[in-house]
């Protein structure tokens, strides 16, 4: 049943990624070259809807949050390394498989590379555990827990900030 839900969720998500035109190298590089912010619009719209819904349901006790640990070394270094590779391949892991579904077969090379990258990481993991993974380990913290304020206050501020960013992008024709 869990597998079935995964498949259905993936089909819906893939459908929307295709309709939002975010499965394209041209759109991903467009954002990284600060010329076409389609993927940023997609991501921020997703986050604005999901953060309100998830925290509302969490307050009602209907869902559980699943927070990834904050480890400064791993999150920042890994994030930057990912970004450098992303700029080269032009697809992220989720959009690479969607791009193949749309006929963009250069993404197959990207997927092959990502599988190799995962295998390389599996070999580096033990060495990283004692180093990068110990640099600034703060556990499962969130912005509201860090700031010691209500999550709704954080959400309202972020909604306003994201809306402001989107408005600016529209004004600049990006």
């Amino acid at each position: 049943m869990e597998l079935f839900f995964g498949l259905v969720t993936g089909v819906l998500f893939g459908f929307l990624l295709q309709r939002g035109q975010v499965l394209r190298y041209d759109k991903q590089l467009g954002a990284l070259r600060l010329k076409d912010m389609t993927i940023v619009k997609f991501m921020l719209s997703h986050i604005m809807v999901a953060m309100v819904g998830l925290y509302l349901l969490n307050d009602l006790g209907l869902v559980k949050l699943s927070i990834k640990s904050t480890v400064l070394g791993a999150n920042i270094l890994g994030g930057l390394i990912f970004g450098l590779g992303w700029g080269l391949v032009g697809y992220c892991p989720g959009t690479s498989v969607g791009a193949v579904g749309e006929g963009r077969f250069d993404a197959l090379w990207g997927i092959a590379g990502m599988l190799v990258g995962a295998a390389v990481f599996a070999r580096a993991y033990d060495g990283l555990l004692g180093t990068v993974y110990t640099w600034g380990d703060y556990g499962k913290i969130t912005l509201p827990s860090l700031l010691g304020i209500s999550h709704w206050l954080v959400i309202v501020v972020l909604l306003a900030a994201f809306a402001g960013i989107l408005r600016l992008l529209e004004r600049k024709g990006l």
Binding site: G14, G20, K41, F42, L57, G79, I81, F82, A124
Partner: protein
């Protein structure tokens, strides 16, 4: 059918995908993510010729090479994208993206090499960061996780730097 439809507004598609993500958490308790599946996929491939590796490496023991919710989710993305592309006349086989071709020429091998190397680097980084733009960018930032905002900033800073290097002055 049109040959290349214009697609939907990214705001509409993004907001609807946010609802999909809420529904997934409510019904199945699962948050969207994609990069762990590549570890499981790599483990499945390695198991074919070196079964020992998969049972001894700590990372493959942590992320076992089995089909789970996320693996099927990732497969579903390809199916959903195919469905939408077919339905709206958007499906088009392309080996070299337009932007790439305009900058680096039409060679599919040059593009293949860059995509492969980029994929290796990107996945290494995603596993180190413990997530990709789905797990950290969408799910993490929606949950206000500090890790999501840090990794998300890293993704874009690294990406902008690489895009500058590749498309300098263009």
């Amino acid at each position: 059918m049109p040959t290349q439809s214009k697609g939907w507004s990214p705001y509409l598609a993004g907001a609807l995908s946010g609802l999909v993500s809420i529904g997934s958490v409510l019904i199945a308790g699962k948050y969207l993510g994609a990069s762990t599946t590549f570890v499981r996929g790599a483990g499945m491939a390695e198991r074919l010729y070196a079964p020992d590796v998969v049972t001894t490496l700590a990372y493959y023991i942590k992320e076992k090479p089995v089909f789970d919710w996320q693996f099927l989710f990732v497969c579903g993305i390809a199916a959903g994208a195919y469905l939408a592309a077919r339905l709206y006349g958007d499906f088009k086989v392309q080996l070299v993206p337009d932007t790439w071709s305009a900058r680096f020429g039409p060679s599919p091998w040059r593009r293949a090499a860059a995509a492969f190397v980029g994929g290796v680097i990107a996945m290494f980084g995603a596993r180190l960061a413990d997530g990709c733009p789905s797990g950290h960018g969408l799910s993490g930032m929606s949950q206000l996780a500090v890790s999501g905002y840090l990794a998300g900033a890293g993704f874009f800073i690294g990406g902008i730097v690489m895009a500058r290097l590749l498309y300098r002055g263009k």
